[in-house]
């Protein structure tokens, strides 16, 4: 038997299933909260911080990740204040400066309102979103890849660095990876990195009407939580 609670997201009273996260609930009801590391059928670990919202408690607005925040009766959430938009924009800016060679990351930057990148570009091929690791751990339980190292040296690797024979070749890791699809105009060579932002996607209007899912291009190839 499902139990329900009523929560308030941006003024709308929503019936949420007890035990689910604020992000899951928002996606279910079509409220667009940008996210990168969240995949609806995998566990959440709150790594990318794009899904941050304001959780109002005792008059104070605490910034917290909505994917790891479970719904509670009467909770008040604000997902799109100026403060949240600015924080999200800065985080997306950091991501696109780190890995501009991904259509999903470029689209996310557009969706989060990034207009300029104020850091020198780096052309990395992994943003450590952990989608691949969680798929390997939770879907097929192969444990053929995982996070290794710490801090700046954190990376995804095979056990002891060698592709194991117990890898089930399921391809889930590749399917979920945001780096596998390059930007529309082709891969960016080192020295040619830039903020894309050329396409006229619904992403630009998503900012104005975040409470209505626009079935935007972000879903294609990247599988935003709503598409899954």
């Amino acid at each position: 038997m499902l139990q329900y609670v009523t929560i308030n997201i941006d003024g709308a009273l929503i019936r949420a299933v007890k035990g689910t996260s604020v992000l899951d609930t928002a996606i279910e009801y079509g409220v667009c909260i940008p996210h990168l590391c969240h995949v609806s059928y995998l566990s959440d670990f709150g790594g990318c911080r794009l899904c941050i919202v304001e959780h109002v408690v005792n008059g104070r607005a605490n910034v917290t990740a909505s994917c790891t925040l479970n719904v509670q009766e009467g909770m008040v959430i604000r997902s799109n204040t100026e403060r949240i938009k600015k924080l999200r924009r800065n985080l997306a800016e950091l991501l696109v400066a780190q890995a501009p060679n991904s259509r999903a990351i470029q689209d996310l930057a557009l969706r989060c309102g990034v207009k300029e990148v104020r850091y020198p570009f780096r052309n990395r091929n992994c943003v450590l979103c952990g989608r691949c690791v969680r798929a390997c751990t939770e879907l097929w339980r192969a444990r053929a890849i995982g996070f290794v190292g710490r801090g700046k040296n954190r990376r995804v690797d095979y056990p002891l660095g060698v592709h194991p024979d117990f890898c089930k070749q399921c391809g889930a890791c590749v399917q979920l990876c945001p780096m596998t699809i390059t930007p529309c105009e082709g891969p960016m060579k080192p020295g040619q990195e830039r903020l894309c932002g050329k396409c006229e996607s619904q992403l630009l209007s998503a900012d104005q009407t975040p409470d209505t899912c626009g079935w935007c291009k972000l879903g294609e190839g990247f599988s935003c939580g709503r598409y899954a």
């Binding site: 670990f45 709150g46 790594g47 990318c48 911080r49 794009l50 941050i52 959780h55 910034v63 917290t64 990740a65 790891t68 925040l69 479970n70 600015k86 924080l87 800065n90 985080l91 950091l94 991501l95 400066a97 780190q98 104020r118 850091y119 020198p120 450590l128 996070f147 190292g149 710490r150 801090g151 700046k152 040296n153 954190r154």
Partner: protein
């Protein structure tokens, strides 16, 4: 020793041990803490023991090897009783004279006495030394009274009587009320009201609960917890037992960083001895309370000082913090209610129980009660561990207790609270050691590490140092900490290497603000503090680096040049040999030349030059 089965047994043992203690009048107390060990105290201790035997004194004079006294720079330290004579900077050779003169006949050896660097006077007793005089050493003073490897010493001094009091006559709710009334706040950095934490944990419904002692002490420059845990481990055990009884826990962990081998060793001995006596295990002293403790070692990760990361580490996993929307007092170790407190917090508990909350609350300021141990280090005359009442002005700590600047330089700032804290300029030294006041000034009391800086420290370099540290220690899970700190460091490095632009300051501030609001855990959330406080109080230094491409303190190597002052140089050639980059050339007995292309301004030559002839421009 036979097991203690009742409260009566403990009291009888205590009486006997006190009697034995009273019989001994002559003692040599030697410090065996990590600091003194670094100064070879072990050799001194061996020498003293050898001399005692040689001089036939080993039956009448007791040697007590204690934990850290906190005055590490003066070690190895010895105190002779009776007479309370304080000797410092001892060598093994001094043992013979120390025993034959001072121990035998009370004759004081002048050259072994402490010389006050401010007045030049020789001082005989610890309590007369200005460094000690300004302090209120509630916790630290106990270290000289006991051998940390002896549970008998602890019991003779009244140890475990607080435990007896709570088991005999205090209900858990009463204990929590007392702790709340005392105003005790977390000594590890968070400053969270301890009583409230215990109350919340008690209310969490569960058969299984835990207490944890956080002895990870990762703040570089802080060693208070090492001192208390090494020097008086039973005080922590007793504190944890009282807390466990109050919240309903039966098991505890002491999580010690593995960089503190002596603290690990002494904790293990303490637990072993407590178990043997029946002070750990089932139905302690015949009561309904069963409790045991495990000593868990850290793996070398600053982030494991964060409570959820520490708990993950105890569970055998990587120390990656998790979100705390649900508090650890409800969902903690193994998802059970857990009360995690710092070493110093636990150590304060037995005295609060014995002397009462009113006694504790009589010290300190309105919002911060009791005493706090500070690790006073850096560019001042007296460095070491200092315990003062909360509310004591920084000025008192730095100048009265610390003795002021060294080498005639001017003190510029004090860094408080480790990498999560901030730098306060000397103009702010009237501020008190107080959780709320310092937090409002942008810094924090933190764990109590205070590093004093003078004109020779570059505040931009200090910010860079802390960012480098935090980047090294970040677990890397979340974007703001992993990428944010990286980019802040990139900007600050640009500034220290002469590539800074004014726009970068605004970007730095915005990035610092973003990281502090969006990071997953305390490490990330406070990572920006060193940057933000140095920007707030030392903006001129940033401006100098950016606008004039100069480092006023002469530290940032890209912005300085070295030159040899021919007048001061005595052509000894030491610098030529010392330079690892081959940048100094010269013939024997001639003033050498520095090749600016090769010179990396690493400073090795300057530190070797005895004539101070190498100047910084």
């Amino acid at each position: 020793m036979p097991k203690l089965n009742t409260f009566r047994d403990l009291e009888s043992l205590r009486e006997r041990l006190r009697e034995d203690r009273r019989k001994i009048t002559a003692r040599v107390i030697l410090c065996g803490g990590t600091g003194c060990q670094a100064s070879r105290s072990r050799l001194v201790i061996e020498a003293v023991k050898g001399e005692l035997a040689k001089q036939g004194l080993d039956q009448s004079v007791q040697v007590r090897v204690t934990g850290c006294h906190g005055f590490c720079e003066q070690g190895p330290i010895a105190i002779i009783e009776p007479g309370n004579i304080f000797y410092c900077r001892l060598l093994p050779e001094d043992a013979q004279e120390m025993l034959s003169k001072t121990v035998r006949s009370g004759e004081v050896i002048e050259r072994l006495l402490y010389t006050d660097p401010v007045s030049g006077r020789k001082i005989q007793t610890e309590s007369d030394i200005p460094f000690y005089r300004g302090q209120d050493r509630q916790l630290l003073s106990r270290n000289r009274e006991l051998d940390p490897r002896s549970i008998e010493d602890y019991i003779a001094l009244g140890g475990y009587s607080a435990l007896v009091k709570v088991l005999e006559s205090m209900a858990p709710e009463e204990i929590i009320r007392e702790i709340k009334a005392s105003g005790l706040r977390g000594r590890g950095g968070g400053g969270f009201p301890t009583g409230r934490k215990w109350a919340e944990c008690r209310e969490a419904p569960s058969e299984e609960k835990y207490v944890i002692c956080n002895a990870d002490e990762g703040d570089p420059g802080a060693y208070m917890d090492r001192c208390v845990l090494e020097g008086n481990p039973h005080s922590i055990l007793e504190g944890m037992m009282i807390g466990a009884w109050a919240i309903g826990a039966r098991h505890g962990h002491i999580y010690v960083r593995n960089e503190y081998p002596l603290a690990v060793k002494h904790s293990r001995i303490a637990v072993q001895q407590a178990r043997e006596l029946g002070l750990l295990g089932e139905n302690l002293l015949g009561s309904a309370f069963s409790f045991d403790v495990d000593i868990t070692r850290g793996g070398g990760a600053f982030v494991c000082g964060e409570s959820t990361a520490l708990m993950a580490s105890v569970e055998g996993k990587v120390g990656e913090p998790r979100p705390k929307d649900v508090h650890t007092v409800v969902d903690g170790l193994w998802h059970k209610p857990t009360t995690l407190n710092n070493v110093e917090t636990w150590a304060n508990v037995p005295s609060i129980i014995l002397k009462g909350s009113a006694w504790f609350a009589s010290k300190g300021s309105k919002g911060s009660k009791g005493t706090k141990i500070l690790a006073l280090t850096g560019r001042i005359k007296n460095t070491g561990l200092v315990e003062v009442a909360m509310g004591t002005p920084l000025r008192t700590v730095v100048f009265d207790i610390g003795g002021g600047a060294v080498n005639g330089r001017r003190i510029k700032a004090v860094q408080i609270g480790g990498p999560s804290g901030g730098c306060l300029p000397v103009e702010k030294f009237d501020l008190p050691v107080d959780f709320d006041v310092l937090a409002e000034a942008g810094s924090m009391v933190g764990s109590g590490g205070m590093v004093v800086m003078d004109e020779a420290s570059c505040m931009v370099d200090v910010a860079k140092y802390f960012l480098t540290f935090l980047q090294d220690e970040s677990c890397g899970k979340c974007v703001p900490c992993r990428l944010g700190i990286d980019r802040m460091l990139e900007i600050i490095t640009d500034i220290t290497e002469g590539r800074g632009t004014p726009e970068q300051i605004a970007l730095l501030e915005e990035l610092a603000d973003t990281v502090s609001q969006t990071a997953l855990c305390g490490l990330g959330k406070t990572a920006a503090n060193p940057v933000l406080t140095t920007l707030r109080y030392f903006r001129e230094e940033y401006d100098a680096h950016i606008n004039r491409k100069k480092c006023p303190a002469g530290v940032c190597s890209a912005l300085i040049t070295y030159a040899i002052d021919a007048d001061k140089c005595d052509a000894c050639g030491v610098c030529i040999r010392a330079c690892v980059h081959g940048a100094i050339q010269g013939q024997k007995k001639q003033v050498p030349q520095i090749d600016f292309q090769l010179c990396r301004k690493c400073g090795i030559c300057r530190s070797e030059c005895k004539s101070e002839a190498i100047l910084v421009n």
